[in-house]
Symmetry: C2
Subunit: 338 residues, 2 copies
DNA sequence: CTGAAAGCGCTAACAC
DNA sequence: GTGTTAGCGCTTTCAG
């Protein structure tokens, strides 16, 4: 393992100068810097992050805590964050809580406290006040993605507006009998996303002067299977079959589309369907949806943290724009049949 | 930040003893250990991983390099690895190469060389000899998952046997006109998984005395959309419509099932379909498939590395069993129609 | 702009 | 079993 003083010797300078030249902290003449850089390059020198961290207090590593990795939204957020971090020379340490209670405790009590990370990103986690205060006690930047965290800056998407947009799309097409398949309000790792989206649905309906019957709002678990089951139930009803379905996730929307087909109904002729997410399968199923760009959310979270960690690059600090979303009209929605 | 000597003072011992008591290296009397532990606990002491690593050379951190995070197989492997590592007190640093060439270079040249990881897991990566020798030069344990790596111990699943099993299932049911939708041979991040599976298909067919026409093997890209397109093409052919399809992935198999339905064919009455993976959607679509347990693969990889890093726990070192797979018969396969 | 020197917080020999 | 003593490889004052 070639060390810093080997490089120093070869470049004919001191270790201190090598450190300055390579890290960019402290002034070094252009010429010296060039000599150091080429010496380092020739020797295949790479700093030891431990030694560097120990001496400087900076880890160049951020932790990301997710409730699952296996789901499209989460893996997309992580991918985005990873990309942005890598680009800036940071490592990403992953903490996945999907294993259960014990894991969660050890992540918060032990792993995150080893001073191995400079900052942490919490994705769609409802943290307890203990957990939050534990993290804040580390005195490390912390940002939430996918929901509000008490006392923590968070990237929030306007769930209500998204749901309203999807609903308005159906209303604009002329639908009045619209079924909403939403999230159950008990899911505790989500931030009441289900209820926010339900509120958006209700707002849009009410604004259009349409009635919202209790049975036109159904709770499901965001999976394709559950979307299928509930849609089949609703579409098979002999009296009040909806002409349109707004599902709170693309997976449920796809399930609903499959249910319609299995009943012999065509989409969108017999029933229009709109989802939320722009899931990777949405295009294949030609699903109209509201895209929410989770990769971008992960990237943004990472950039915010980096800006906080490196005040020199503060240009990027004002990235706190509201998160974008966008209606993508494909072939699963149309006017109701004359 | 409370440090080791604060704990030492409170426990009335030296820092060295605290280190020994807390890490388990070196003998400490039960009584002393208890005193140290409670002192550490009361003070909320957590070791600084940098200082510890710098002094000991051990990082308690393993890197995992994946070509994508967004796909079921990879995120499952990562989840499994993460779980096993966390359980053993290790961190998992994620390197995702999906961004493109530059990222790949910097991961191998820079990130993995910072001595921040004790070992690395390479998932379904065809490493160049340069990359491999670079990694081996770090003198760190390295294990591959999902394909053979020249000169590197790897967790390999018997792709040929898997494909044979799936094909034999169809043959056993009485099918003779079987279409294989496989991977293209060019995909360079996979380990010729496509071709191995094709070979297994051919072996089973040949062993059963069935002809394998060139047009009964089709290349696709493992996505649902491509499986759909190719299946539709084949099932719509006026002359030689297959009675069964063996797809090299569940996503393609699901695409094929949807294509069949769109043509008005029923599964399994008109066409049987079998996949590989046991993807999360396989159950919903009632797909017969060969499960390959990627989470278990990730876990196993992590356990092998830990056993190598901690010779004391060598009991687990012989975990090198062949990877399991299993035919799951659901409702997408049946005898061909009379 | 550069060098010398003093640690960062812990672990590992080595004594006792 | 426990304390003492050196570092681990870098960064960062502080002089110059």
């Amino acid at each position: 393992m070639v060390g810093i003083d080997e490089v120093a010797r070869r470049a004919g300078v001191s270790a201190a100068t090598v450190s300055r030249a390579l890290s960019g902290n402290g002034a070094v003449s252009a010429e010296t810097r060039a000599r150091v850089e080429s010496a380092a390059h020739e020797l295949h020198y790479v700093v030891s992050s431990n030694a560097s961290s120990l001496a400087s207090g900076r880890m160049r590593n951020v932790g990301i805590v997710v409730p699952h990795l296996n789901r499209w939204f989460f893996s997309s957020v992580v991918e985005g964050a990873e990309r942005a971090l890598l680009r800036n020379g940071y490592d990403l340490t992953l903490y996945n809580l999907s294993g259960g209670g014990d894991e969660r405790r050890s992540v918060f009590d032990h792993f995150l406290r080893r001073r191995r990370v400079d900052a942490v990103i919490a994705v769609a986690l409802e943290l307890t006040t203990d957990e939050i205060s534990g993290l804040l006690a580390l005195d490390k930047p912390l940002v939430g993605v996918g929901g509000p965290l008490a006392g923590v800056p968070s990237l929030e998407i306007d769930e209500i507006a998204i749901a309203r947009l999807a609903t308005e799309h159906l209303i604009m097409l002329g639908h009045t009998a619209i079924l909403h398949i939403g999230g159950s309000s008990e899911e505790d790792t989500d931030f009441h996303i289900g209820s926010h989206r339900r509120i958006g649905f209700q707002q849009a309906m009410t604004a259009a002067g349409l009635p919202v019957a209790a049975e036109s709002m159904i709770c499901a678990d965001f999976t394709m299977a559950d979307g299928y089951a509930h849609a089949k139930q609703a579409l098979g009803h002999p009296h009040h079959r909806p002409t349109a379905i707004f599902a709170a996730s693309d997976e449920m929307a796809i399930g609903a589309a499959l249910a319609a087909r299995d009943l012999g109904l065509s989409v969108p002729q017999d029933v229009s369907i709109v989802g939320i997410d722009d899931h990777e399968l949405a295009d294949f199923f030609q699903l109209t949806t509201v895209a929410q760009f989770p990769e971008r959310q992960g990237e943004l979270a990472a950039e915010i943290l980096i800006a906080q960690l490196e005040p020199s690059r503060r240009e990027e600090a004002s990235l706190r724009v509201p998160l974008p979303f966008e209606l993508l009209v494909r072939s699963s929605t149309a006017r109701p049949q004359g």
